[in-house]
Amino acid sequence: MTSRTPTEQEIYGRRGRLITDHDANKISRIEELAYELKVHDVMTADMHTASPDMLMSEVLDILRINRISGVPVLQDGQMVGILSLEDIVRAMQKNELSAPVSQYMTRSLITVAGYDTIIKALQAFTDSRLGRLPVIDENNKLVGVITKGDITRGFLTALQRDYKEEEVRRYRASHLFEDIISDRTTLVLRYNIKAHDFIRGGNASSHIKRALLRLGADPQVARRCGIAVYEAEMNLIIHTKHGGILKLEMEPHRITMSTTDDGPGIPDISQVLQAGYSTASEQVREMGFGAGMGLINIKRCVDKMDIESTVGKGTKLTMRINLPIENSNTHKDK
């Protein structure tokens, strides 16, 4: 096995110090975007330029008419300098607006590359104290200009795009059943539940509830489904030998949830349907479960519950919630 010294980036992360999970949670979308967006995503490509032999007064006109504060200076397609309003002010002070651009332009060129990240451009702005920076490509050819205003605009556009994408995703999910035409459209979610995995107990139910809400289910229906599958999921974790499968089948008019396992099976089903009947261990009771209320809770939440079981073979629990056709108003039994 080879070993190497980790890079500074790996040790200190991108903000110059160790980044913990705690920090990672705090990184905002804007900060992410500063690393995701590239200079060429936000720069102005269609820019005004000047040439070294133009007169300062001519450039002043370009700046004034286009309401910009500086231009790159090009000679035969190569960038040779940058001229800003400040340079023009200097020329005006000396009454030399008829001087050529080459006399006043800034020659020390700070540039950014199109493929640089926004964070790099922001650093260049801070270091150089300039308001605009020329953007070059791999061949050092000028391809655009970037200002801090471009960056702000870029952020706003990207944030709006994020927002729209989430909207579109929600829209697509909630119109799934309208958009797909078949004689019977069913969406099936399937989760493998491990026996005695108390740490992850409830994860599947949590995913199911989120999926239902995204699919546009009524919040009340999502709550009833969530509670029913959560009790059922915990039953698989608490009582089965090898865990089982939790399945949710969604159709336009109903939601069918089920759990199947391969044992141990229930000797007397009428017994487990009595409130307070429990076979749970002391450990499970300490966790707040095993009070003999699970199936009764499920029954309260769903429109129909069926339980089939064979000792030594396994148990199948089926739960069904009917959805109102057409309108999405709260539908509740009783």
Partner: protein, 118 residues
């Protein structure tokens, strides 16, 4: 009642410092039996409980609690804390016992949310 006020009344410590506590809590519910919580609670309330395992957060999430207060100064298991942070459910530890804390919150005007409706 604002959660920040509830934390004050509970003399509580917020264990999930990154989560927003400027949220409205409509009522309170106390139980150590998760099935009871699932069966009898109403959404948008605060859960008072002596349990500290991850299932407390999952249960709270399913039953749509906005916050959880662990009574008698109990500290959560690490997984409980991480799930709470992930699911955006503020976790608070209060030195008071269940009866004392329920009484304090109720007296200050937080309604009881124990009911038979799902």
């Amino acid at each position: 009642m604002n959660l920040a006020k509830i934390i004050k009344l509970a003399n509580g410590m917020l264990l999930t410092p990154d989560l927003d506590i400027d949220i409205e809590i409509r009522g309170g519910y106390g139980a150590d039996l998760m099935s009871d919580v699932l069966a009898f609670s109403q959404p948008d309330s605060v859960l008072l409980t002596g349990l500290t395992n991850p299932q407390v957060v999952r249960t709270a999430q399913m039953a749509e609690f906005r916050a959880i207060i662990l009574i008698r100064g109990k500290q959560p298991q690490p997984e409980t804390l991480s799930i709470a942070a992930q699911e955006n459910i503020p976790l608070i530890s209060s030195p008071y016992g269940m009866f004392e804390l329920s009484a304090r919150l109720h007296k200050a005007g937080l309604p009881s949310f124990e009911s038979n409706d799902i």
